[in-house]
Amino acid sequence: MDVILFLIFAIIAVVCAINVVVQTHPISSAISLVGVMASLAVLYLLLGAEFLAAAQVIVYAGAIMVLFVFVIMLLNAGAETKKGQSSMALFLGGPLLVALLMLLAWFVQQLFPGISVHFGGFRGGSAQDVGRALFTTYLLPFEVTSILILIAILGAIVLARKEMD
């Protein structure tokens, strides 16, 4: 059962990811990305990360992607035109990517031979557990990231403000 669920949602995720990369119009890429995030949320659930699955949907799919869609709308971005290519990226990038993938997959295979994931195998991902860890062990990063968000808000406002004038 776990395997089937995993395979279904893994394939959905990969297909949507390919779609993000391949599609010419940005809005299609954005929708595909939402698909990736949703399937990832399911995979998180399978791994026992309940809180994070919910956070993924709410924050990523619900907020960040909406932001992306708004920006695409504001900029009235059209389909991409075929103009110059970077020869460096083209000739070197492809082989490198393949090499990267092969390396990572190989390492992963070697390192973790026999372990498998069962649904329910890890119970410590609930909101209570995450919250407890967040406000004790990770209190400092929590406070710092709250300042970081504040700075990001200010920065975004300053940068985009002049457009309104």
Partner: protein
């Protein structure tokens, strides 16, 4: 006793005049400069009039200057009888010359600068005299050398003046090198540079070391006090203003060498070879310089060579063990030589700048006071009794005879020559007809103002009566010298030589004026040799100066500095620029190529990690 006040008053004068003098009026500059020297002189009198007769040395320790390992040097000042004599000479004559300078420098530019430098010189000279260890003495030694350079080159827009200043400083430096080596040797041998410590331990040291120290100190003294072979800077130093010649190059700075040798007498007493060397150099210099002085035509040059010669006498005295006689002659020489210089300055001032004896003459009616005072100095230097020069020179000659009779006879001949050239100068300047340009700018000789004449008068009195200040008695106990019996025959011989010189000069320059010229024509080669100062300057120039200058210009400057080092540095710069030019091409501005580079890098890192983890 607060000895430190003595040098600090002139130092304050220097600081005030140096920093603010530009905006002061002339009277304010005068007040500060003269006032500081007056205060210094007054303090000296107060100290000397105070309790105690300075039989023992009174030392004051102010602060520890250097404290490094075994080296412990304090800023110490000491006063004893020898110091007392030097202090009186320096501050007293310094005061008179400062007063004279008010009149002499009245029409010159850089008025405040002159007095600032003079005050600075007083400060350093007093530090030198009051020092209680060799290093503080060396500070004063170097300082007076610096002030000499500044004051010789006072007219800095004239090349010959700045050249003379450079020459003085550089030749002094050679002497200072010897002094430094002596100090190193003293420290290594005695473990300290304090006079008290060194002199206490001196009797117990080996004669070889003491002789070496003595000879090295003598090198320093030769530089500062213009003895053979380092005397060449003193005649050129006449390029400075006349009060400078009087103060620095007659009365005080050049006597620093004599003072230093006299101060180090415990070392010299136990190193007879060094003392003999001092005496030999002294008499040789005295004779040599006197011969040059016979033929000079510039009035200041005559007196410059005379100074070198008289300094030779002082060293002769020191070298023969008559330390108190040497210091005695230092004092009397300060009186009459300063007077001779100041007087010649008055003559030059009267003639609006003429210095050549051949263009003077008949001035005794025009500048009577100057003439009278200079005559006092002339008879003193010629050794005519009962004036001051007679007493001091006689003491030295008696000691010389006791040490080595040939020195006595050379000294007598030199005394005769001294009398001759001084009176030659006097007769050429003040007697006969005025040979100057009647219609030119030197045409109206006028007497100097009182501010210049009063110091001349005071110095004249001292030159005449100075012989009655019983210095030898005062210092005899200090130096623990043996009494040398007076020999009337020797006295008579030396006086006779002096009188003979005066008479000869009278005959050649007053009675029969043409005789001098025929003499010159008869002994042309010899005369040229003497007139050109034995070509010593030219010799030094060819053998020492030119090779060094050329070597450093061609080899070191153009070859090494510009070629090699600059080439290397510039080459590195060019190389860096080239490499940068190549690397610049990677920055294409294209984000995606950057990303590709990052990807490449990360792949490499992963591979490296894998290999490091041993999974291959």
């Amino acid at each position: 006793m607060n000895l430190w006040l003595i040098p600090v008053f002139p130092l304050a004068g220097f600081v005030i005049n140096g920093l603010f003098g530009r905006r002061f009026s002339k009277s304010l500059v005068n007040a500060v400069a003269i006032g500081s020297v007056v205060l210094s002189f007054a303090w000296v009198l107060k100290i000397l009039a105070g309790p105690g007769d300075l039989e023992t040395t009174h030392t004051e320790h102010y602060f520890t200057w250097i404290q490094s390992g075994a080296l412990n040097i304090g800023c110490d000042m000491a006063v004893d009888r020898l110091t007392a004599v030097m202090l009186l000479v320096v501050t007293g004559i310094g005061l008179l010359i400062h007063i004279y300078s008010i009149g002499y420098m009245a029409h010159e530019g850089g008025y405040y600068r002159f007095f600032a430098y003079m005050n600075l010189f007083m400060f350093f000279m007093l530090v030198l005299v009051l020092a209680a260890n060799y290093l503080v003495l060396f500070v004063g030694w170097e300082g007076v050398g610096l002030c000499s350079y500044l004051l010789i080159g006072f007219y800095f827009d004239k090349k010959f003046a700045t050249d003379a200043g450079n020459k003085a400083f550089i030749v002094n430096r050679i002497g200072d090198f010897g002094f430094s080596l002596a100090m190193f040797l003293i420290f290594k041998n005695f473990g300290s540079l304090d006079f008290a410590t060194v002199f206490q331990q001196a009797p117990g040291s080996s004669e070889a070391i003491l002789t070496t120290i003595g000879l090295l100190l003598l090198v320093g003294a030769c530089g500062k006090s213009a003895q053979l072979p380092l005397y060449v800077w003193l005649p050129d130093a006449m390029a400075g203003p006349t009060p400078v010649s009087a103060l620095i190059h007659a009365a005080t700075m050049v006597t620093a060498g004599v003072y230093m040798c006299a101060r180090s007498f415990p070392i010299y007493i136990h190193a007879p070879a060094a003392m003999n060397t001092i005496a030999v150099i002294g008499i040789a210099t005295a004779f040599f310089a006197a011969t040059i002085g016979l033929a000079q035509n510039d009035i200041k040059k005559v007196f410059a060579y005379s100074t070198v010669s008289q300094l030779g006498y002082m060293f002769l005295g020191v070298g023969c063990g008559a330390f108190s006689a040497g210091i005695y002659h230092l004092m009397t020489h300060a009186f009459f030589k300063a007077l001779l210089f100041l007087g010649s300055g008055s003559v030059i001032h009267a003639l609006s700048g003429e210095q050549d004896l051949r263009h003077m003459g008949g001035l005794r009616k025009k500048v009577p006071w100057t003439f009278a005072t200079m005559m006092c100095a002339a008879v003193a230097i010629a050794g005519v009794p009962p004036f001051s020069g007679f007493f001091s020179k006689d003491e030295i000659l008696v000691a010389a005879n006791h040490h080595a009779p040939w020195m006595f006879w050379l000294g007598v001949i030199t005394a005769g020559m001294t009398a001759f050239y001084v009176f030659r100068a006097m007769f050429l300047a003040f007697f006969g007809e005025y040979r100057g340009d009647v219609h030119g700018k030197h045409a109206h000789p006028h007497e100097s103002p009182p501010v210049m004449l009063i110091p001349l008068a005071v110095l004249a009195l001292l030159s005449l009566g100075g012989g009655f200040i019983k210095i030898p008695a005062l210092l005899g106990e200090f130096f623990h010298a043996e009494e040398i019996p007076e020999d009337p025959t020797l006295v008579a011989i030396s006086v006779a030589a002096g009188l003979l010189g005066i008479v000869l000069a009278y005959i050649m320059y007053v009675a029969r004026p043409g005789m001098a010229d025929s003499f010159v024509a008869a002994f042309k080669a010899l005369y040229t040799l003497i007139y050109s100062k034995y070509f010593v300057d030219e010799l030094y120039d060819a053998t020492l100066v030119k090779p060094v200058v050329n070597g450093s210009r061609v080899l070191l400057w153009k070859g090494m500095d510009a070629g090699l080092i600059d080439g290397m540095v510039n080459g590195i710069g060019a190389r860096a620029r080239n490499i940068g030019g190549v690397l610049r091409l990677i920055q294409s501005g294209n984000i995606r190529s950057y990303a590709t580079w990052v990807l490449l890098g990360s792949v490499l890192v992963i591979v490296a990690l894998g290999i490091a983890g041993g999974l291959r």
